[in-house]
């Protein structure tokens, strides 16, 4: 906010409104109550969970105990899931961002045969429900020997049609054609132009796409659920659901406290990453608005 230049017109820098702040604060409460609930209940023992009210602390404060248990339960499988998730995010979301950036730029700044077809196919694909793809993808991957390997999760997450779209929109606006022309006149090749001229201009867009693909990969559930059979390759989401499901039937081992603590721990890295990236993202946005 500090970067928003102070202008003399009140429309741009008006007086702060208390009423608006209070109304928005109500919405804030709605947003935060479930998270508060999660924090409170992640700090209870299994026994206290079964015997105390949801929105108040009860029994011993067991958050750190629960965290310890979460990380050590079943030989520390949670830690492994965390590592898997990070792997899927770095390779999957990272790859998705690279592919989407290149393709989005290509769509925005080049006219080439098949361009409209690419657009139509990509947009159409967004509408296809994942279940339509799940079974055939599973069968294909199993023939290729990819099921129950990290690749089965990573390859499909390399594609982010939304990321492509975002970069496309952003590049169309943020990269003046004159800039590219000037570089071409200087004799630079297309790839060199992309690497040296374009990328820098696209940084805010790229960060935004990274944020979204990261969240998407971190939260990915359906595909790994189908593709993976061994817990050692699970991401956190599938692992947590298995923990939740093991409260069922003969030999049930309910660990609701660990499910809750695990849920909390699953959210935290993303929140931190978001807060961290927020700063870059915001400066990028401001830059964009100044330019506009």
């Amino acid at each position: 906010m500090a970067t928003v230049p102070v202008k003399k017109f009140s429309v741009i820098n008006p007086r702060k409104s208390r009423v608006l702040t209070v109304v928005m604060a109500l919405y804030l409460i709605y947003t935060l109550v479930p998270l508060a609930w999660l924090v409170i209940n992640a700090s209870k023992t299994q026994a206290a969970l079964f015997s105390t009210s949801g929105l108040s602390f009860g029994g011993a404060f067991a958050l750190f105990d629960n965290i310890g248990q979460t990380f050590t339960y079943n030989d520390g499988i949670f830690f492994r899931w965390l590592g898997n998730t990070v792997l899927y995010v770095v390779v999957g979301a990272g790859g998705a961002t690279i592919l989407a950036t290149a393709a989005g730029y290509g769509m925005a700044k080049y006219r080439f045969p098949g361009r409209r077809a690419v657009f139509a196919v990509v947009l159409g694909a967004v509408a296809v429900p994942p279940t339509a793809l799940a079974v055939p993808t599973f069968l294909m991957f199993s023939k290729l020997g990819l099921t129950n390997t990290p690749l089965a999760v990573i390859i499909p997450s390399l594609i982010s049609p939304f990321g492509l779209y975002l970069i496309w929109v952003y590049a169309a606006d943020a990269i003046p054609d004159e800039l590219l022309e000037a570089a071409r006149i200087d004799g630079a090749g297309e790839i060199r132009i992309f690497l040296t001229v374009t990328l820098r201009q696209l940084v805010p867009g790229i960060i935004t796409v990274t944020l979204f693909t990261m969240v998407q990969t971190w939260n990915n559930y359906f595909l790994p659920l189908i593709m993976l059979s061994e817990p050692k390759w699970y991401p956190l989401t599938v692992g947590l659901n298995q923990w939740s499901a093991q409260a069922n039937g003969a030999g049930a081992q309910p660990i609701f406290n660990l499910v809750l603590t695990g849920s909390l721990l699953t959210i935290i890295p993303l929140v931190v990453a978001f807060l961290f990236m927020q700063r870059f993202w915001q400066s990028g946005l401001s830059a964009g608005s100044v330019k506009g």
Binding site: K7, V11, L28, P129, I159, T237
Partner: protein, 308 residues
Amino acid sequence: MTSTAAPPVPAPARPAPRARRSRGKWRGWLFVAPFMLVFALTFIAPVVYAFVLSLYRDQAFFGGTVFVGADNYAQVFADPKFWESFQRVLVFLAVQVPIMLLLALVAALAIDSARLHGAGFFRIVIFLPYAVPAVVAALMWGFMYGDHFGLAADLNHLFGTAIAPLSPSWLLTSIGNIVTWEFVGYNMLIFYSALKVIPKELFEAAAIDGAGTFRTILSVKLPAIRGAIVVATIFSIIGSFQLFNEPNIMRNLVPNTIGTFYTPNMYAYNLSFNGQQYNYSATVAIVMGVITAVIAYVVQLRGSRKEI
């Protein structure tokens, strides 16, 4: 480029002046090809395969694949289970999507208005739920919805109400609440980033014309972010039609209310993985995909037509 062929872009791409040069005719593929290659493997191939599957019928236990042509499609169109689930997501869409987008829009406008104390804090916190995996959100709200020991029970205790979020009449609302909670922040961010790039001169001009806050919103801000609104609407429609994670996880709590065909996506999933009716499942998924694509396309057309 005509406006109908362009994506719902706020600012349609200007054609590159040198594009007609034959030297550079194909060079755009340099950047698009890697994406399309992976795309072909993970989207196009499975879609084609699903289509192939939809033309056959296979017996789960005794094999014997038979080519049945369009029979599976005929069956889907006459399948009351499919239409029941379709109707449900349609209702869901008609109610939940407008509420969610309206909340997101108001939040974005409020944060963008510079009238808010601590606007940055609001933006971060409202976006936070998007960082919560759908699995975790569904598990968490599922716990809270419990009307015996959950948060709902506590509230009922406290206020003497009789909220029963998991009862059949409330359930769709309860799921809508989870989805709204998760995605208001996401849509808010789309709107907010579109608001951010509106040229300041427009506001200044509006102010000089004597437009008040609401006039400015209606005649400057909203038209300027129409593209973003269309995009958010399309993505929300697609999301509603594909509703799966939340009801599927909550099914563990209320299996009698959330049956195996509560949403079209759940129906396709259960056909495959409980009934091993892979062919029919693929057909249901394709029909759903086509319907979704058509509706998304219509929304886009309407969105861009108004833009002229």
